[in-house]
Amino acid sequence: MKNLENQLFKLKNIKLNVPSEIDENVYKMIYRENSSHFSFKYLISGVAIAGIILVISMNVLTKKTSPDPFNYFTQKLRNALSSKNPDELKTLFASNYFDEKGISKEEFVREVEDIFKTFKRVEYSSVNEEKIIKGKKALLKNISEVVLYKKNQKIRLKAIEKVYMVYTGGEWKVDEWICETIRKEVN
């Protein structure tokens, strides 16, 4: 068996064809990552400028009582969701809303980012049932942390349910198993 090493070198000749759906996923990542970095920066800047203008208009010009922040947020959320664009949701979560309510914006955004990553993992592992369950558990843990983090639980629960819907392929279908478990966590 002097030729063992030569035989081992033949392993180079093994060719595995990468499934086309994997190619598609990687291509999506390549194009999404760059474009989201680009758009996210500008969206954040846009939201910041819009926020400043809004505050000035409300405080200086009208001097009226601020609208119910929960309703304001819900309306914004509804608009973002109707666009079915995850970037808009991210922008909303990254807006000054949570700072105004005394909640750490960075922490919340970080949690949401983690959830997004988990969604990605679940999506990429869709061929493996065991991994989906594992991903869901990780997702649940993240969601629970966000939901239970501070106040406004109902709003957050609702928001995160919606985020989940968006990330399950844009279909408006809630994964009941997840939502029921979140409700148990909240209650």
């Binding site: 392993l11 060719k15 990687v26 291509y27 474009s35």
Partner: protein, 180 residues
């Protein structure tokens, strides 16, 4: 255009440059991950994660020798495979028997091999080796890295790499029932 040049272009904002890098390396990384994890499903998952990490970490990667794109991607893949195997908490034998390391016949192309030692048989034996030996043998023989490059990838001295290769080869010989 070399990988490094493509990578520079990608950093400048040309997204298709990363797509080209993916096309160049996907089969190699996929095969390596398949050998290291023993599972097609895991290899598919980790191939995507490898490129996700590469995209995310692209700002930190400076490129240029000795940190070539090929080595960088390989290192990411190796680390992911290690994490994956660790998380599974399976021992190597249970994870990598031939049943789990099935070969999808339609998608795999073998070169004809000599005598009675088939590539299938080599894979079967490799799959029973402890991870560290499978890792080093895959890098040296399948990926064609030098001892020095493998040492750099695995953060081990060259001497350790050489001794692992020898030990791994001896294990294979032993399993084949032949003398050196």
């Amino acid at each position: 255009m070399s990988d490094e040049e493509l990578f520079k272009e990608y950093k400048k904002g040309r997204r298709d440059a990363m797509a080209l890098i993916y096309e160049r390396h996907k089969e190699r990384i996929y095969r390596l991950l398949y050998f290291l994890t023993g599972s097609i499903e895991d290899a598919e998952d980790l191939l995507q994660q490898t490129f996700l990490k590469a995209i995310k970490g692209s700002k930190k990667f400076k490129g240029g020798n000795p940190y070539s794109v090929k080595k960088w991607l390989t290192k990411i893949a190796i680390n992911l495979a290690r994490d994956n195997n660790r998380k599974k908490l399976l021992n190597i034998k249970a994870l990598l028997n031939l049943k789990s390391l099935y070969i999808p016949e339609k998608d795999i192309i073998f070169e004809k091999v000599e005598n009675d030692l088939t590539v299938e048989r080599i894979i079967e034996i490799l799959s029973t080796l402890p991870h560290i030996y499978r890792e080093i043998i895959s890098l040296i023989y399948m990926e064609g890295f030098s001892y020095e490059e493998a040492a750099e990838l695995l953060n081990k001295p060259v001497g350790t790499i050489k001794s692992r290769v020898n030990y791994g080869l001896n294990l294979i010989r032993k399993k084949l029932g032949v003398e050196k």
